[in-house]
Each structure stands twice: as structure tokens, then as C-alpha cells.
Amino acid sequence: MNWTTVCELAAVPRDGAVAVLVDGAQVAVVRLADDSLFAISHRDPVSGANVMARGIVGSVTVDGVEVPTISSPMFKQVYDLRSGRCLTDRRAVLATWEVRLHGGDVQIGPALAVTVRAAPADDPIDAEVTT
């Protein structure tokens, strides 16, 4: 398996994000207050601009579960950090990468391919994640 070291953990602010370049791909690395990490696409799918790492990290309660989120700084859609799915605009989704802490370093792993089936407006979006 291919892991790329991108930065030290300390370079990512708590409940914040930074952008990194991995093999030409622009990835946003997100760190929560408890040091858990997520890696999502830096590209905002709605505007097409590479800005996601400048969004606000937070949470929203969905069916009683606290979901970690990031909002786009451009038009404010909110995404579930775990799956990349948009919670406010069902037509948008962020790509995700594997990410881990190795020593004090943040490492990005392979991209997770996402199969997304177009859904009618009131069906839940079906996203299957495979490695």
C-alpha cells in the first residue's frame, strides 16, 4: 500500500484543515479536536474552485448521531467528513482519501473510489465506498 507523508500533525489546526498536494491531486486534511483525521477533496464540487480546506469544521446531529462536518466557504454546503456526502445539497459529494497518523506525521493513502447512483429527489443518495 502506498502512503505519502504530507506534513506534521502540528501543521493542521485543531478543528481546522490544510490543503496538500498528493501526486497532483489537491486534498484537504481535516483534524478534529480529538486528533482524528479526515482527507477529502480540496475541490468544492459546487463552485469548482479549490477551497474546501478553508471551510469551517463543525458538527451536526443526524438521527441522534453527531456527524463531523466541513462547510464550503464558497456557497456554504455542509459535508459529512466521514463519507464526503453533502448534507444540504443531495446532488453534491466530495471525494475522500485514506489518511493516518504515523509517528507525528500525517500520511495520505489511496483514494477511495466512489460509486454514486443518481437518485430521484426524495430517495436517499446511495454511495457505495470501495477501496
Partner: protein, 867 residues
């Protein structure tokens, strides 16, 4: 085939407006077209709010009906045209323009005349009545011309009549800076609405405002001086009073002359006699509003007039509605003093009991009239504090349920809520809306907010006095329907922004984690984080990127620049008051050229440079700071610009140095963080080239100083600013703006601009004036200190970043490739400058065959959804 019928309305006043509006909204089949003929040179307007003409409102703000109604193809409005005669057999009316208009049905809505009493001299120049916009405009014009010759002493005015209109007129004279005396024939003020006890308290309150009151005084003669101008008044007891202007507010008389000439029946004391369906003796003619005499009575209030308009419409459409009768309940704010009177206010019902409370020091009088068993509320009078009117008025005829005195002593927990009101109780008397109608709007018609309920039922859309009760009923109904009416900001905080501001100020907490742990829950979100960042910044707690605050900042604050559509930024240096030297311009030009930034002059009199990448921001700012510029905060919910006009240094009309004042204000408030952005304007004379009245604070020079207007707004819902104070000197102006801003910052909602804040501020502009100019809340020292603290601690936000390696670190494109620019940026040239080339927002999905790096989407990162 059905032929369309023609309805002609004579008179274009408030009730005519209601008639047309109701007809157009109910006549779905288009059976009627309507022509409204009015002699005033404008569309119908809100006469009830006439006095606001003196507090800086535009006459146009009073117009009723909006453009939509008068542009309706079925509606014709003929302004500035009087109906002069009715030809009943030919079914035509004649106008003063010489034409004849045929009708199938005629509605008389000609209202009333303001009566001028038949005393000698009442037609001298300087005598006015108080009924139309033209009347008040003439009054104002006369006072303003007179003032030119009278710098030595204040002008003096006498208002004849101490009723509702008289006190309104006295307020208007005061607003014009005229010392006024109200002369009333009866032994107390407002004899029709309040009793002796209420009259005594009212008199004290009015006198405290500087108005002289003479009751039990009859006017004998108006005295004239040279050139036919008023110069005094003589009374029946032989005494006299000097006066430069006299306003008669001695009552109204129905304008029933058309009906008289046409041979229709006229009431004993005037008014066109109609039955309960509002028809006159002629089945093709109805009369509504103040001109109609129903059951031997003429109603001088808007609510009964509106009810008649609805009845007339219903009848035309084949309905059977009847005029339900009315009562003379009123709630008024006269010169800032609350007066309300409702139901059987004078205890005329046999055996009725009165419970009253009077506090001469606090200036409050309250009386309830109860049935002989002390259970049922019959009426009441409230002076000085009418806050319980909205709750009491609908209970007339109902059992009070509690000890009546609980309603009279100053409220501790507030009066019993709106939840218990019976469905039949009238909540909005202007529009005849009951508690049941409001509940129904929520439960059956799906209204989800007070705004919805207002537009659906019309409750609260006229005088506004019922709005608190409408809100309470709506909230209760929504809660019962299981709709959360949380006033909290988001799922993390149950507090409003104002409450949070207060909490943070008091507890002294300074980090987001402490604040959310103490006052909220969870980890926050894109709504509450920027609010807390803004609150901390307003409290002057250091740089917005200090400690954990960098991650709280919204889009633009996040990088201290404005985000553009391609992810780059724009840069706006501060150009105080819009004044810039040629050298400054050259420097900006040089920097823009070097970094190839698109440049444009903004709407705020400064220069915007677009297309700077994140990692370029510090370098560009270093150059700007070296050239003497500082941060313009175009990105912050904070002071933006102070727009100026050139003023008296060059302009031949200027009366003050507007540029100097604009610069002073911009330097004072720069960096001040607020719930939303703040803009100011300063104009050097009344021509208003700086468009100051569209700003949060607008300053307009006068030959004596500055007039200050507040709460203006451009944007989506434009609003002209309201006059707060006149002829301030420089220091008084600055102090007033200081207090206004800090008071707004402490109490406004999130992202609420001063315009919306002022509209919702309880007590409105009078309350604000009281706080800002008279320290009515006793907080002035505190507000002043807060602003002084801001001024003393101001530092240039960008210079500080340039000196702080930790803050500089965030201005990188990629943490692992700090000097690689975003490889996706593309530009093309347009009119000699660059602009982004970007896939449009509805871009087709990225295909699997796409060569861009990263994961493959089978259907792209925008999922097309079938609709």
C-alpha cells in the same frame, strides 16, 4: 357572455385603498374593473402615520398598495382629480377636469375635512390644519421659511385642540423645533379617550416633554400682524399668547357634499346615511369610511372604515356581509407617550366597577372597568404604559380569570400569555382578525412564522400595536403544532446572538472551546463559530486570528480578503472618505500591475484588486503597507467605508467640510466589528451627493451642524435612514454615532443590519433617541467607554499579520508545497485585464476517462438529479 361591470370609487384615501385591494383579491372571476378618482396628487397613503413625515420619513414611504395594485390592468387610479357631481339617473360622475365617467356601482369614500373653527383670523397666513401630506408639507415649509428671519428666538406655535390630532400636531411642531402650546376647550387632554385621572397623568407627561398645556380654554380670535401673518392668539378669558404658527385640530366633518347635492339622505350631524350593507338610498351607490353614517354615527377611525370596505366588496360579489359595528378602542403613542382606551372606558354600563392604579412619579395611570360582579372586563384606560393593551383589549366581554389588580401593577412576569385567549377574541382591531384566525393560519394554512401569519391574515399590518400579541399567539400555535420556534442560533446554542454577547461580556471567556462548553453543546458549526468570532472581536479581545480563532472565521475573514469564484482573493486597501493622493493612486497602480491584478473602482469609493492567490496575499500587503496603506476590511462584518461628497472645500453649495468629517469617522470606526457590515456617508449639504441616507449612519450637513440619520440600507430591501438628531456639532455627532453603533452591536441579531434592527427595536427610533441622546437606559457611560476602548486598541489587522510568523503560516497554497500555485487556475483577457475561466456551476460530470488526478467518480462529483 358575462359583461364586466365598472365600479367607480370617489376619493382615494385609506378606505378606498382597502376597498380596491379587497375587491382585487376576491374577484377571481374578473367581474369588476375599478376606477379610483382622488383629488390628492398621490396614491392613497397611510394617514394614520402622517406624523412620521416629520421624523425624516419620505412621503413615498407612506404610500399604500405598492406598485402592483395600481398597475393591475383592472384598476385605474386617477390622481389629482376631484369628483364634482353625481348624475344618478345617468349613472355618471363628473370631474373637475371636465369629463364624465360612467359607473355600474359608485362607492363614496371621500373621508372628512379637517374643520377650521369659525373664529376671527383663522384664515390668516400661518394657520394650518392637519389632515393630508400637503397640509403637513405646507406647515413644514412655512416654519422653515419663517425660521430664516428668526435666529434670535425660537418659533412659537399654538395647537388648538387637545385630542389625538392636537397632540400629534404638537409632536410635529416639536420635531420642527417649534415651542408649542396645546389649547383644549375641555377640562382635560384627550377628553374622548381618557378620564380625569388619566388626563392628569397625561398632562404631566406631555408637559415634561416641553409642551405647554392649557385646558378649559376657549379660543376667541387669531391675531394677525403685517402682511396678513399670524402673530398671536386671544382667548375667551381675555388673555393672549404670542404665536408664529397655529394648527387647528378641532375635529373633522364628513365630506358629504357630493351626496347632498345628489339628493341622498344625510345624517343629522353629517355623513351619508347607509344601511348595514353600506348602501345609500340609491342601490347603485355605497358609502364607506369616514364619510358614511351607519346607525346614526360617523366613525373617525380606520378600523371601522376597513370593515365597511370589506362589507361593500362582499356585497358586490353577491355576499350577505353586514357592518358588525365597531368600538372606539385605540392605542396611540403620542410624543412617545402611550395612551390606550378600550371598551367601556368611562364605566357607562350600569353597576360597573372601576379598579385603578396611578403612579404620578412614574407617570402611569391604569384603570379597568369591570362588570358588577367584578369578573368580566368591560373596558379600560392606560396612560404612560400601555404594554398590556394588546392582551387586555381582546378580553373585553370575557372573564378576566385573575385578580384584576394583577393587570395594573407594573408587570413582573408579564401578563398572562396569549395561549388562553378564546378563538373569537379580536386580536387585530385594524383588520378585524381574531385569535382563532391566527391559530387557523398556522394549523390549517401552513404559516410557519409571524411574517407568514401577517401576510396571510393581515393582522398587524396597519397600526402595528397588536404585533406582540400576534407573535405570541403564532409562537404558541407553532409549538402546539410541534414546530420548534427556537430563538437559538443553531443546534449548538440556545441563546440568541444578543444573549451570547452579554454572556461572553460578563463571563470574560475568550476561547471558543470555553464558550461552547459553558453556554452551548457539541463542537459548533458554520453558523455559531463566526458569530462567536465576531462577538470576541467586537469586545476588543485581540487579533481575529489569535489562538483558536483562526478556525472560527467565515470565508472572507478566514484569509483577511474577499474570496472570489475561482478561489483567489480580492484586496481592498482603506481609502478613508474616498480621498486619495495622486501618489497613492500611482502606488496602487504599480502594485496591481506588478501582480497582474484586475482593478476596479468599487461602489464604496475605493479600489479593489482581484485575482490574488492565497500565498500572494502577504507579499502584496507588505507592498501596500510600505506605501502607507492599511487594511480596508472589505472582508469583515465591520466598518466598510464612509462615503463622502467633496463638501465646502470645493463645492459651491457645500456648508460643512464633509470630507474631513468622513475621514474622521472612518478613522474612528475602522476595524469595529459588528453583527453585520457598517457603512456611513457624509454629505456637505442637503443635495446629498454622498447618498448618506442609504447608509447605516448618514450624516448631512446643515448650516448649523450635522443631521444624523440611522438605519439606512441598500441591498435587497433598500430603506432610507431615519432622522435621529438634528444640527449636532462635531463632538455631539461623534458621540451619537458611538452610542448608536455600540448599542446596535450589543443587541442585534446575527447578520442583522441596522435597518432591520431598527425596524424590530421595541420603541423604534424614539427609544433609540432616548438611549443615544438622553441616556434613557443609564448606559451611556458604558457605551462611550466601549467605543473609546475600541478606538484606543485599534491596530491595522494586516500589519500585525506581517509581523507574526504563526499567522503568516496560514497563507500558503499547500502545506507540503508552499510555493506551488493552485494548478487549476486559468485566465483569459477581457478589455485589457484578466478574468477567470471557470467551468460553469452546472458543469457536466467529470467522466471516468478524465485525466485529472484523484479518485474516479462514476457519475461525477455533481450528481444530476431527476426532477
Amino acid at each position: 357572455m358575462m359583461t364586466q361591470q365598472h365600479v367607480v370609487v370617489a376619493g382615494a384615501g385609506m378606505v378606498a385603498h382597502r376597498f380596491v385591494e379587497a375587491l382585487r383579491s376576491r374577484d377571481d372571476a374578473g367581474r369588476f374593473r375599478v376606477t379610483v378618482i382622488g383629488d390628492e396628487p398621490r396614491p392613497p397613503y397611510d394617514r394614520v402615520a402622517l406624523t412620521t413625515y416629520f421624523t425624516g420619513r419620505d412621503p413615498e414611504d407612506l404610500h399604500l398598495g405598492g406598485a402592483g395594485l395600481w398597475q393591475d390592468p383592472q384598476v385605474t387610479l386617477r390622481k389629482g382629480t376631484a369628483v364634482t357631481a353625481i348624475d344618478r339617473s345617468g349613472r355618471r360622475v363628473r370631474t373637475d377636469r371636465g369629463d364624465d365617467v360612467g359607473y355600474d356601482h359608485l362607492i363614496l369614500a371621500t373621508g372628512s375635512y379637517a374643520a377650521r373653527p369659525p373664529v376671527d383670523g383663522s384664515d390668516l397666513r400661518g394657520c394650518f390644519v392637519y389632515r393630508t401630506i400637503d397640509d403637513v408639507a405646507d406647515l413644514r415649509g412655512y416654519v422653515e421659511t419663517l425660521r430664516v428671519g428668526h435666529d434670535d428666538r425660537p418659533l412659537r406655535g399654538v395647537v388648538v385642540g387637545g385630542g389625538l390630532l392636537g397632540l400629534e400636531a404638537a409632536g410635529a411642531l416639536q420635531a420642527l423645533g417649534v415651542e408649542s402650546t396645546v389649547v383644549e376647550f375641555a377640562p382635560r387632554l384627550m377628553p374622548l379617550q381618557v378620564d380625569d385621572g388619566g388626563g392628569a397623568v397625561l398632562r404631566r407627561l406631555i408637559e415634561q416633554l416641553g409642551v405647554t398645556v392649557r385646558t378649559a380654554t376657549a379660543t376667541a380670535k387669531v391675531l394677525g400682524a403685517r402682511r396678513g401673518r399670524v402673530d398671536g392668539m386671544r382667548f375667551a378669558d381675555g388673555s393672549s399668547l404670542p404665536a408664529d404658527v397655529v394648527v387647528f385640530a378641532t375635529g373633522v366633518r364628513p365630506r358629504d357634499e357630493l351626496a347632498r347635492d345628489a339628493g341622498l339622505s344625510i345624517g343629522e350631524r353629517g355623513g351619508v346615511v347607509v344601511d348595514s350593507s353600506c348602501l345609500t338610498d340609491d342601490p347603485a351607490i355605497s358609502a364607506v369610511g369616514e364619510v358614511a353614517c351607519v346607525d346614526g354615527r360617523v366613525w373617525g377611525l380606520i378600523a371601522p372604515g376597513n370593515a365597511m370596505a370589506e362589507v361593500a366588496v362582499d356585497r358586490l360579489l353577491g355576499g350577505a356581509a353586514t357592518f358588525p359595528g365597531a368600538d372606539s378602542s385605540t392605542k396611540l403613542k403620542l410624543l412617545g407617550v402611550d395612551v390606550a382606551s378600550f371598551g367601556d372606558a368611562f364605566g357607562a354600563t350600569p353597576g360597573s366597577l372601576e379598579v385603578s392604579f396611578a403612579d404620578a412619579v412614574a407617570g402611569v395611570y391604569k384603570k379597568l372597568v369591570l362588570s358588577d360582579d367584578a369578573r368580566t372586563l368591560l373596558g379600560g384606560i392606560l396612560v404612560g404604559d400601555a404594554s398590556s393593551y394588546a392582551a387586555l383589549r381582546p378580553m373585553v366581554g370575557q372573564a378576566l380569570g385573575t385578580d384584576p389588580s394583577a393587570w395594573l401593577v407594573p408587570a413582573t412576569d408579564g401578563p398572562p400569555g396569549g395561549g388562553e385567549l378564546p378563538d373569537g377574541a379580536t386580536v387585530c382591531s385594524c383588520n378585524n382578525v381574531t385569535a382563532g384566525d391566527i391559530r387557523d393560519a398556522v394549523t390549517a394554512q401552513g404559516c410557519c412564522s409571524v411574517a407568514d401569519v401577517k401576510s396571510c391574515t393581515r393582522a398587524g399590518t396597519s397600526c402595528g400595536s397588536c404585533v406582540p400579541l400576534v407573535k405570541r399567539l403564532t409562537d404558541t400555535a407553532l409549538e402546539e403544532a410541534g414546530v420548534a420556534v427556537g430563538k437559538g442560533m443553531c443546534e449548538h446554542f440556545e441563546l440568541t446572538r444578543a444573549e451570547l454577547f452579554n454572556a461572553v461580556q460578563v463571563t470574560g471567556l475568550r476561547t471558543f472551546s470555553e464558550i461552547i462548553a459553558r453556554h452551548g453543546r457539541g463542537r459548533g458549526c458554520e453558523i455559531c463559530k463566526p458569530v462567536i468570532a465576531s462577538v470576541l472581536a467586537s469586545l476588543g479581545t485581540g487579533h481575529i486570528l489569535d489562538d483558536d480563532r483562526g478556525t472560527l472565521q467565515d470565508t472572507n475573514d478566514h484569509m483577511l480578503a474577499n474570496l472570489q469564484k475561482d478561489g483567489t482573493y480580492s484586496i481592498v486597501p482603506r481609502i478613508p472618505g474616498g480621498e486619495v493622493t495622486p501618489d497613492g493612486l500611482i502606488e496602487i497602480g504599480r502594485i496591481a500591475k506588478e501582480f497582474d491584478l484586475y482593478t476596479k473602482i468599487t461602489g464604496g469609493q475605493r479600489i479593489d484588486m482581484f485575482g490574488a492567490r492565497v500565498e500572494q496575499l502577504p507579499t502584496i500587503w507588505r507592498r501596500l503597507v510600505e506605501a502607507g496603506f492599511e487594511c480596508g476590511h472589505a472582508y469583515g462584518k465591520s466598518l466598510r467605508t464612509v462615503k463622502s461628497c467633496v463638501g465646502d472645500s470645493w463645492c459651491r453649495y457645500g456648508v460643512q467640510d464633509s470630507v474631513a468629517m468622513a475621514i474622521r469617522l472612518e478613522l474612528r470606526y475602522r476595524g469595529l466589528r459588528a453583527p453585520h457590515k457598517l457603512k456611513l456617508g457624509v454629505s456637505g449639504c442637503a443635495r446629498e451627493c454622498a447618498e448618506a441616507r442609504s447608509k447605516d449612519a448618514g450624516v448631512i450637513a446643515t448650516d448649523k451642524g450635522w443631521n444624523l440619520y440611522v438605519g439606512g440600507n441598500g441591498g435587497f430591501s433598500p430603506r432610507h435612514a431615519t432622522l435621529l438628531a438634528e444640527d449636532l456639532d462635531d463632538e455631539g455627532l461623534v458621540r451619537a454615532i458611538d452610542r448608536f453603533f455600540i448599542y446596535y452591536i450589543r443587541t442585534a441579531d446575527r447578520l442583522q443590519r441596522t435597518a432591520a434592527w431598527l425596524e424590530e427595536l421595541p420603541g423604534g427610533i424614539e427609544h433609540l433617541r432616548d438611549v443615544v441622546l438622553h441616556d434613557g437606559l443609564g448606559v451611556a457611560t458604558d457605551l462611550d467607554a466601549a467605543m473609546e476602548g475600541h478606538v484606543a486598541s485599534y491596530r491595522d489587522e494586516w500589519s500585525e499579520v506581517l509581523h507574526d510568523p504563526v499567522k503568516l503560516a496560514r497563507f500558503t497554497s499547500f502545506v507540503n508545497a508552499a510555493d506551488v500555485p493552485d494548478p487549476d487556475l486559468r485566465y483569459e483577457t477581457e478589455r485589457g485585464q484578466r478574468r477567470p475561466v471557470l467551468t460553469p456551476r452546472s458543469s457536466p460530470p467529470v467522466r471516468s476517462s478524465d485525466t485529472s488526478p484523484g479518485p474516479r467518480f462514476i457519475s461525477g462529483d455533481r450528481i444530476e438529479v431527476r426532477r
